[in-house]
C-alpha cells in the first residue's frame, strides 16, 4: 500500500476514535465550547485528509458533519442527543469505508446511496439555512418516477433508433442518463463535458441549456447552465460508479423500447389513404397480421421515402415483426398515420453524435490545464489584495517585506526585471511610511495586465531581504521564552509494529545466544584446561547478561500499551447497548493507564466486549425491576485494571441481579453437563464456574446482544491462550464480578526441561503443579489406566513416550522410581511420566510455522544456549 494512504488510514482511525470520544464527553457537558471546537477541528481535518484521495463518499459525509458542527459552534443549531446519534452513525460509516480501503485499497461504488442518505440526515439538522445545496438530492426520489422527456430522441438517426429498438426488445436495456451539473461545478474542478464523454456504451448524447440562455450581456460564463442527456446500454452500476462524486446531480432511468418508435419526415406531402387506415384497423381487429403487413408494404412501396408516412409505416412493420402482441402500440401508430401529425418535439439545440467514437477520439481537456501565466496573474492578484489590507496591523512591515520578496521572485522568473531595482526602493519607502501605498503604486507601474511569458532571460536581482539583524536577534530571545511557556507536548515517536516485533525477536535471540557463554567457560576449563580464560569468560558473561536483560526489559516496555486502548470503546458500547435494551447504566473505568503487553491487549478485546455485553444483557436489570428491588434505577458497571507484581487484573463488576447457583446447577444438569451425583455435591462456587463449561448458556433464547453463539467458554479459552485465568464471583441480587488475571508480558516463557527417550522437551512451568518421583510399586492400574495416589488425590499417569509415540519404556532411576511431572489441565491433575528432569530455563517461545505449523501437541520451539533447539510441548493438546 502506498505510504500516503497508509498514513491516512492510521490517522483516520485515530481521528475517528477521538471524534467518538469527544461526542461522548459532550453528552456529559454539552456546553463546552472548547470540546466543540476540538470536535469540529477533528472532523474538519479528517475531511481535508480524505479529500486528498478518491473517497467521495467519505468526503461527502464528513463534509456534512463538518457543516453541522460548524452550525453548532456558531449557535445556529443546538447540540442534542439525536445529533450525537447521527454523527456517531456517520462516523461508523466512515469507519466502515476506512476498513474497506484498508482491505481493498479503495471504496466500492455501492456506498454512494448511503453516503447521500447520511449526509442528508446530518444536513437536515442544520435546518433550512444550509439545505439548498442539497435540493437536487431531495428531489431525486420524486424525479425518479417521472417518465423521461424523450422527445429529442428524434435527433437520433432513424436507422440507429430501429437498431436500438431491436436490441432493446432482445433484452439490452437502454438507460437514459440525465446529468445536470450544479452551476458552480467549474469551480470544483469538475469537467461535465469530459464526464459525459466517459459514459460507457453510450449511443447518443445531447447537451441543452437548463434555463433559457440570458442575453449575452447578462451571461455568466462561469456558471454551468447545461443539462446533458445520454443513452447507453451500460449497466446501472457502471454509471453510478462514473458519477459517484455527484450522485445527486444525475438521474438514471430505464427507457422503454417503445419510446424509440418515433416516426419522422415530411408530413406535408404524399397521399392520404383513409382506406388503408380503415383496412389496417380491421386487420388488427381480426388478428390478421400478415394481411396488415402486406397492405403496409404496398403503401410503403408507393410512398416517397422522405415522407413522414414512410417512416411511420416502416416503424409499424418493425413493431409488427418484433413485438407482434403489442396491440396498443400498433393501434397508436396507425392512429398517428391518420392524423399525420407527430407529437410536438421540443427544440433540440445541439446534438453530439458520438456513436462508437468515444474510444477512438483523443480526449480533450482531461485535467484542468495549469498555465503558468495564469498562476503568475493569480499571485499578482493575491499581492494586490494583500496590499489592500488595513495598514494598522503590528506586523505590517513583515507583511510588506513578504509581498516585496514575493513580487521580486515571481517577476524575476517571468523575466520582468525592469521594475526590480525600483521595488527595493518602494519597499523601503513603504516601510518608512508604514503604508502599503508605495508598493501598490509599484504594482500599478510594473505589473502587467497580461503577462507575456518571456523566454526566461534570467537576471539576478537582489530580493528584498529582512532588514535589520539586530532586531531579529532580540526578538528571538523574547519569543524563545514565550514559546517555552506554551509548548509542553510530549515527544512521541510512532514506530511500525513490525519493527518492534523484529527487535523483540532479535533481543530474544541475543538473550539465548549469550547463554552459550557459560558452556564456553566450562569447555575452556575442561576441554582446553585454561582455567583463567574460563574465569574471565564467566565475568564477562555477567556483564553481558545484565545488559541483555535490561535491553529485553526496555523492549518489553516499548511493547507495553495502556489498557485504555481497549477501554476506550466501552463508553460507546455501553451507551448504545443499554439504550437498545432500555436500561440505564453508568460506566466507570478505572486504571486505564495500567500497561500490558500489546499482544495480550489485542487478545483481550473480544472477550472483554463479550463480558460487558453479558453484564448489560443479563446482569443489570430494567429500571423498574431495580426500583422494586430497592436499588438505584441506573445500574453501575465498573471496569478496573490493576497491576500486582507481574500480573495485571481486570475486574468487570456490575450491581445487577447476580447469578443464582441453583439455576446454573439445574441448567447444567438439564444439558447433561453434570450428572445427578455431581449436582448434589457441587458447592455454589463450583456451580458458578460451570458457566465457563463448553456448551453452557443460561439463556434459552439467543438475544440480539450477548448471545452470538459465543459463551463464556470462549472467553476463557481466549484468556488462557495468553496464559491468563478468569474467575467469577457472584451474589444473587447483588451483582457479579469477573476477574481476568493476566501476565504482564508473554514474551518470555519459563519452561522445565525433561528428558524422554534421550531427547529433551520443554513444558511450560505455569502448567506444572509439582515434580515427584513415584516408586513403581505405587502405580496402580484402575480401569486399564495407570494411576497413583498423590496427596489423597487419584492422579492418572501417562507416559510421555506413549503420548509422543516414542518406542521406548519409561526409565527408572537406581531406586526404581519414576520421574513424574504433575500438570494441571482444566483443573484436573495429570501425571506425565518422563525419564528424568532437567533444569528450568527462560526461553523465547517461537510458534510453529510453515509445514510443522499444523502439528498438534507442541506449543512451539526455542533455541537453547548451546545452540540446540528445544521443542516445547503443549500438554493440553497432548493429553
Amino acid at each position: 500500500m502506498n505510504p500516503l494512504l497508509e498514513q491516512f488510514l492510521s490517522e483516520a482511525r485515530e481521528f475517528l476514535q477521538d471524534i467518538a470520544e469527544k461526542l461522548m464527553q459532550l453528552e456529559g457537558d454539552p456546553d463546552s465550547t472548547q470540546m466543540m471546537n476540538e470536535l469540529f477541528r477533528l472532523v474538519h481535518t479528517l475531511k481535508g485528509n480524505s479529500g486528498l484521495f478518491e473517497f467521495p463518499e467519505m468526503t461527502r459525509v464528513l463534509h456534512a458533519g463538518e457543516d453541522l458542527l460548524d452550525a453548532v459552534r456558531d449557535g445556529r443549531v443546538n447540540y442534542s442527543q439525536e445529533l450525537a446519534d447521527r454523527l456517531l452513525d456517520a462516523m461508523d460509516f466512515v469507519n466502515l469505508l476506512v476498513d474497506e480501503v484498508e482491505l481493498k485499497g479503495s471504496t466500492g461504488a455501492g456506498h454512494a446511496q448511503n453516503a447521500v442518505r447520511l449526509a442528508e440526515s446530518l444536513r437536515q439538522l442544520i435546518g433550512s439555512a444550509a439545505v439548498e445545496t442539497f435540493d437536487a438530492a431531495d428531489t431525486l426520489d420524486s424525479a425518479d418516477h417521472k417518465i423521461p422527456d424523450l422527445s429529442e430522441l428524434t435527433a437520433l438517426p432513424e436507422q440507429l433508433r430501429m437498431a436500438l429498438y431491436r436490441g432493446s426488445l432482445n433484452g439490452a436495456e437502454l438507460l437514459l442518463v440525465e446529468y445536470c451539473p450544479e452551476p458552480e461545478c467549474f469551480f470544483k474542478g469538475e469537467d461535465p463535458f469530459y464526464q459525459v464523454r466517459q459514459i460507457p456504451e453510450s449511443v447518443w448524447q445531447s447537451v441543452q441549456s437548463l434555463e433559457p440562455w440570458p442575453q449575452l450581456s447578462k451571461l455568466d460564463a462561469y456558471s454551468c447552465n447545461l443539462v446533458f442527456r445520454a443513452l447507453t446500454t451500460a449497466l446501472p452500476e457502471e454509471l453510478y460508479e462514473l458519477f459517484r462524486y455527484t450522485p445527486e446531480q444525475v438521474r438514471i432511468v430505464p427507457v422503454p423500447a417503445i419510446m424509440l418508435v418515433l416516426p419522422q419526415g415530411d408530413s406535408n406531402g404524399g397521399p392520404v389513404y383513409d382506406d388503408f387506415i380503415t383496412d389496417a384497423l380491421k386487420f388488427l381487429d381480426a388478428d390478421d397480421l400478415p394481411g396488415l403487413k402486406a397492405s403496409a408494404r404496398v403503401l410503403l412501396a408507393i410512398s416517397a421515402p422522405s415522407l413522414w408516412l414512410s417512416s411511420a409505416l416502416s416503424w409499424l412493420l418493425l413493431v409488427l415483426e418484433l413485438d407482434p402482441d403489442n396491440r396498443a402500440a400498433q393501434r397508436t401508430l396507425i392512429a398517428s398515420l391518420h392524423t399525420l401529425t407527430a407529437p410536438l418535439w421540443s427544440t433540440v439545440i445541439t446534438t453530439i453524435d458520438t456513436v462508437n467514437e468515444d474510444d477512438s477520439k483523443p480526449q480533450l481537456s482531461t485535467t484542468l490545464c495549469i498555465d503558468e501565466t495564469q498562476d503568475f496573474d493569480a499571485i499578482l492578484q493575491a499581492q494586490r489584495e494583500i496590499l489592500a489590507q488595513p495598514d494598522s496591523d503590528l506586523w505590517l512591515n513583515g507583511r510588506l517585506t513578504g509581498v516585496a520578496s514575493t513580487l521580486a521572485a515571481c517577476h524575476r522568473i517571468a523575466g520582468l526585471t525592469d521594475g526590480l531595482p525600483v521595488l527595493s526602493e518602494a519597499l523601503a519607502e513603504a516601510l518608512a511610511q508604514a503604508s502599503a501605498s508605495p508598493l501598490r503604486s509599484w504594482l500599478e507601474d510594473y505589473a502587467p495586465q497580461q503577462a507575456e511569458v518571456p523566454s526566461a532571460a534570467m537576471q539576478l536581482v537582489e530580493a528584498a531581504e529582512p532588514a535589520n539583524e539586530a532586531v531579529e536577534e532580540e526578538s528571538k530571545v523574547q519569543l524563545g521564552r514565550r514559546t517555552e511557556d506554551i509548548y509542553t507536548g510530549p515527544k512521541t515517536l510512532k514506530v511500525d509494529q513490525e519493527k518492534i516485533d523484529l527487535l523483540m525477536g532479535l533481543i530474544g535471540e541475543m538473550v539465548v545466544a549469550k547463554n552459550s557463554l557459560p558452556y564456553l567457560a566450562v569447555k575452556a576449563e575442561t576441554q582446553y584446561g585454561v582455567r583463567e580464560l574460563s574465569r574471565e569468560i564467566k565475568s564477562q558473561y555477567a556483564v553481558i547478561n545484565r545488559i541483555a536483560e535490561e535491553m529485553q526489559d526496555a523492549i518489553m516496555q516499548v511493547r507495553m500499551m495502556p489498557v485504555s486502548f481497549i477501554f476506550q470503546r466501552f463508553p460507546r458500547l455501553v451507551r448504545d447497548t443499554s439504550r437498545k435494551l432500555g436500561k440505564e447504566v453508568n460506566l466507570f473505568l478505572e486504571g486505564e493507564t495500567t500497561e500490558i503487553d500489546k499482544n495480550i491487549v489485542e487478545a483481550l478485546s473480544d472477550p472483554l466486549i463479550h463480558i460487558v455485553r453479558n453484564s448489560l444483557d443479563h446482569g443489570i436489570e430494567l429500571p423498574e425491576v431495580r426500583r422494586a428491588a430497592g436499588k438505584p434505577e441506573a445500574g453501575r458497571l465498573t471496569i478496573r485494571a490493576t497491576q500486582e507484581s507481574d500480573r495485571v487484573y481486570i475486574d468487570i463488576s456490575d450491581d445487577g441481579k447476580g447469578i443464582d447457583p441453583k439455576v446454573i446447577k439445574d441448567k447444567a444438569y438439564e444439558k447433561g453437563l453434570i450428572d445427578e451425583a455431581t449436582l448434589e455435591r457441587l458447592t455454589d462456587q463450583e456451580a458458578l464456574n460451570l458457566v465457563f463449561a463448553a456448551g453452557f448458556s443460561t439463556v434459552e433464547v439467543i438475544s440480539d446482544l450477548s448471545g452470538r453463539g459465543v459463551g463464556m467458554d470462549v472467553v476463557r479459552n481466549a484468556v488462557e491462550k495468553v496464559n491468563g485465568t478468569v474467575s467469577l464471583e457472584s451474589e444473587a441480587g447483588k451483582g457479579t464480578r469477573i476477574r481476568l488475571s493476566l501476565p504482564l508480558s508473554m514474551a518470555v516463557t519459563n519452561v522445565i526441561i525433561v528428558e524422554s527417550d534421550n531427547q529433551l522437551f520443554g513444558i511450560p512451568m505455569d502448567m506444572v503443579v509439582e515434580t515427584v518421583r513415584i516408586p513403581r510399586s505405587a502405580i496402580h492400574t484402575i480401569k486399564r489406566r495407570q494411576t497413583t495416589v498423590l496427596r489423597n488425590r487419584i492422579v492418572p499417569l501417562l507416559a510421555l513416550n506413549d503420548l509422543l509415540a516414542l518406542d521406548a519404556e519409561p526409565r527408572t532411576n537406581e531406586d526404581d522410581m519414576l520421574a513424574t511431572l504433575v500438570v494441571r489441565i482444566n483443573d484436573e491433575h495429570i501425571g506425565i511420566l518422563v525419564d528424568d528432569f532437567r533444569e528450568t530455563v527462560d526461553i523465547i517461545l517461537k510458534p510453529m510455522v510453515g509445514i510443522i505449523g499444523g502439528l498438534g501437541g507442541y506449543a512451539g520451539s526455542a533455541l537453547l544456549g548451546d545452540g540446540s533447539v528445544l521443542m516445547v510441548l503443549n500438554p493440553k493438546e497432548l493429553v
Binding site: 500516503l4 498514513q7 491516512f8 490517522e11 477541528r41 474538519h44 481535518t45 475531511k47 481535508g48 485528509n49 479529500g51 486528498l52 485535467t367 484542468l368 495549469i370 503558468e372 498562476d375 503568475f376 493569480a378 499571485i379 493575491a382 499581492q383 489584495e385 494583500i386 489590507q389 488595513p390 496591523d393 503590528l394 506586523w395 512591515n397 513583515g398 507583511r399 517585506t401 513578504g402 509581498v403 520578496s405 514575493t406 521580486a408 521572485a409 515571481c410 517577476h411 522568473i413 517571468a414 526566461a456 534570467m458 530580493a463 528584498a464 529582512p466 532588514a467 535589520n468 532586531v471 531579529e472 526578538s475 528571538k476 519569543l479 524563545g480 514559546t483 506554551i486 509548548y487 507536548g489
Partner: protein, 123 residues
Amino acid sequence: MKRILIIDDAATVRLYHRNILEAAGYAVEEAVNGIEALEKVMQTPFDLYVVDINMPKLDGYGFLKEMRRQDIDQAPAIMVSTEAEADDRQRAYRAGANLYLIKPVKPAELLIHVHLLLGEVRA
C-alpha cells in the same frame, strides 16, 4: 537546495505535500502546529512556508502574524485551507500570507506556485 517548511497538524496532508515537494528537489521539513513551526524558523529561516489554517495550540494566522511581526522571517508563505470562503482569504492575506490555495492542492498547481514564489525557473 531551497528549504520549505510544511506546517499542518494532519500527518496525511504533511506527507502529501512533502511527497510533491521532495520529488521536485526541495528540502522539506515539517511542523505540526504554529508553535513548533516558530521554533524551527527561529533556528534557521526557510525559503518558503506552506501553512495550514486550523491547527491546535497556534493556528496558521497566529503563526504568520507572529513571524511577520517579530520579523523572524519574511519569506513567501502559502496558506492552504479547505475553506473556500473569501473572508478567510482576506484573513490569510492580512495575517501575512502571500498566496491562498484551497486544499487539496493539485501537485502541478502547488509546484508552479512554489517555483514562482521562489523565483526559480521550472525544471
